[in-house]
Symmetry: C2
Subunit: 438 residues, 2 copies
């Protein structure tokens, strides 16, 4: 790509960067390395003019060019020589205040902050619209995967009914290692920590909080509703055993931590994060290691999947850069993207959601037990798709493994309570949802 | 989504449709069914005002509302009551003339016409830019998969080095059935024809022409270069045998028809379509049946994949609708998207391209043969990654199966010529490329 002599000289857009850690550093390097090419393609020349950091004297690997380093982030969002603000510091405050100030000053903002957007997205999008500027956040949902823009723009006319994501790389790495290497949860977590995929306190990842925040953002833009991370039901992967994974594989499934955002025919929505048995022929089953993927179901388009790196400096900076270019081109053209109006979400209660389940039940190995157990499912309105008995002949107990058709979660709960009350039932070892048709 | 009372009343954008077959009919239905929701989200109300068809008296399933049906497509592209032109008739002419007229009249155009864009894309993009209007073509490359917009916008700053696509659903269906059901090529083709996936004359699909045209468009936008379908080297799937597929599976590969667009360090590019052995753990290996997928490699973002339906009325109409909304919003805002300037492509000759190969060689089963055969690879600069001997002991001939490291195609050709000249070599049964690192 070379510049067209007929094309007007590129207009310079100056980026003010809040935070210069892994992502901010990678972004600065990308802007420096790619600005000629970007100028030739888009007519916009990017430059990083100001960078707010916690400690300006700390030595840095990246070449900061002529950008002004400051420890005062508030000075960046109002600076005259900043046209677009990029926020990669994370957390609610001071990010929320800084972004609010930037938008009020008429400056477009690009943010990678899932926590902030999951809790205060609707309010910030409205503020951006009111001031006629962009608030873009591709990197906040699935790292380097272009998903927010295709969902907002390419699928703007599509009736999206369900979005299913593997949107936490740490847990996908752990589950992949448990599946492919036969590691225990503890071993896989330790390796994830050694590789830097998991924090010393892994709760945000393994407890499903991180995926829940991202799922709230996804549901908001997919369905045009205002909801927050608190509206997401989430379960983590700490209860998934090596035995569950082995049984799942034998039955033709992979266990994945899925975020599921659904809209039902009555326009109610539900967002939940939980370990799920995914049929091996489903595209999400082959998403391995720390990769992420988002699977979309729409009435006209059918099934789509977007796959890539959900974290890491390079991929995240790539997504931020795409947004910076978009905001810059819009700024030069005097236009901006809008998310439209978010209506309050009508949330369907968890107990009313349809789910298929995998259940492993220890029972006394005696005549009539299967009929008794199966009868409990039936009287509670839960239909059985498949059943098999596991365990050597002659044992005093047998293991029954059930997969149900989709049933109301409340009906499955009632089934479990009744089963536990039976003398012939020893224990219920596994209760894992199974991915099925919407 | 409901309309915001503070939001200005939606501005109506009138669509003129060229062609009302499967895609045009599905689009008309989508616009009718989704226009309220689209208006609420984007502030633009779409309506189909004119439709050009071959036979206006033919009964049609779709409700055409108040649109004017005409057999004169030229009247649609210049009509005062048409704001955006959608071309879904296909082929070079009259589509090229009609689109040219529309762009010259200042009307944005959305096209699903891969043949036209693969041959005259650069010229038409330049014309659109010169008239300050959009020419969008999401549906021309991978049907319903949002890929062109993410590549153009989300990855505008990314240094994309390679794009690998399964972009022909017919051949992917045939190869999947040969792999999973053990069908012969002839059986799988017959079934594809019965299902309507393949034409009576299947040459365009099975010969790799369709994939080649799409690959030319992909390479153009990925690398910002002007090239056409004639610049694409293509081989079809007609030579792929059930035996090749069985051997590939045994070695851990799936055979797929891949389109590969690469840019090398010297900025030369190459685009080729050929059957390829894909390692089973690669995301493209699990793209089954008539699904399509495009895999992207970029220096910052790493690996991405976009997966979905590459054909069919609903998915294609969904992609067209996304473009129509984009063009309409741009029209209302007075802006337009630009592909930037396409430079002439520096094409690297096929003989200079790096490829790993799978080769099956029938040899006399006698001492020293392996050393002789392996020596031919070495003297021609082709490095062997793995070799195994197949066939029962005591046979007069043995089958040697090689997988090479990436080598110049010219060196592999020289190796094959030399091998064929050897007395101990009976025949070379299979020569299939193997997907490797760029």
């Amino acid at each position: 790509v070379t510049e067209n002599p007929d094309r007007p000289a590129p207009r310079t857009v100056r980026v003010g960067l809040l935070g210069c850690g892994t992502v901010g550093g990678a972004l600065t390097e990308l802007v420096t390395g790619r600005c000629d090419d970007i100028a030739a393609r888009t007519g916009v020349r990017l430059t990083v003019s100001r960078i707010a950091v916690r400690d300006a004297r700390r030595p840095r690997q990246v070449q900061l060019a002529d950008a002004v380093l400051t420890e005062d982030p508030a000075s960046v969002v109002t600076a005259d020589d900043v046209d677009v603000v990029v926020e990669v510091i994370g957390g609610i405050e001071p990010a929320r205040t800084l972004i609010t100030t930037a938008l009020r000053s008429g400056k477009p903002v690009v943010s990678a902050n899932k926590e902030l957007l999951a809790h205060h997205g609707a309010e910030l999008f409205e503020l951006a619209d009111a001031h006629g500027v962009d608030l873009l956040f591709e990197a906040a949902v699935a790292g380097g995967i272009p998903f927010v823009r295709p969902l907002r723009e390419s699928l703007a006319g599509e009736d999206v009914t369900r979005v299913i994501g593997i949107i936490n790389g740490t847990t996908n790495y752990i589950l992949t290692k448990m599946t492919e290497e036969g590691w225990s949860y503890t071993e896989a977590l330790a390796e994830a920590q050694a590789l830097g995929y998991a924090e010393a306190d892994p709760t945000a990842d393994v407890g499903g909080f991180d995926a829940g925040a991202k799922a709230a953002i996804i549901a908001g833009i997919a369905f045009g509703v205002a909801l927050s991370a608190e509206d997401v039901h989430h379960e983590g992967i700490t209860e998934v055993s090596a035995d569950d994974i082995a049984t799942a594989r034998r039955l033709g499934f992979q266990i994945k931590l899925l975020a599921v955002a659904e809209r039902f025919d009555d326009n109610s929505v539900a967002v939940r994060v939980h370990p799920t048995m995914v049929p091996e022929e489903h595209p999400l089953a082959s998403v391995r290691d720390s990769f992420n993927a988002v699977f979309v179901e729409g009435r006209a388009v059918g099934e789509l999947m977007f796959y890539g790196r959900g974290a890491g400096g390079g991929p995240t900076a790539s997504a931020v850069l795409g947004d910076v270019i978009d905001a810059s081109v819009n700024l030069v053209q005097g236009s901006h993207a809008s998310l439209g109006v978010f209506t309050p979400a009508s949330l369907r209660p968890q107990s009313e959601l349809p789910s298929a389940f995998y259940l492993a039940v220890e029972v006394a190995d005696q005549p009539g037990v299967l009929a008794t157990v199966a009868g409990v499912f039936g009287t509670n309105g839960v239909s059985i798709r498949s059943m098999e008995q596991v365990g050597a002949d002659g044992d005093a107990t047998a293991r029954l493994v059930f997969i149900t058709h989709a049933a109301r979660e409340a009906d499955v709960s009632a089934t479990l309570i009744k089963l536990r009350s039976l003398d012939v039932v020893g224990s219920i070892d596994s209760v894992i949802r199974v991915l099925g048709d919407a």
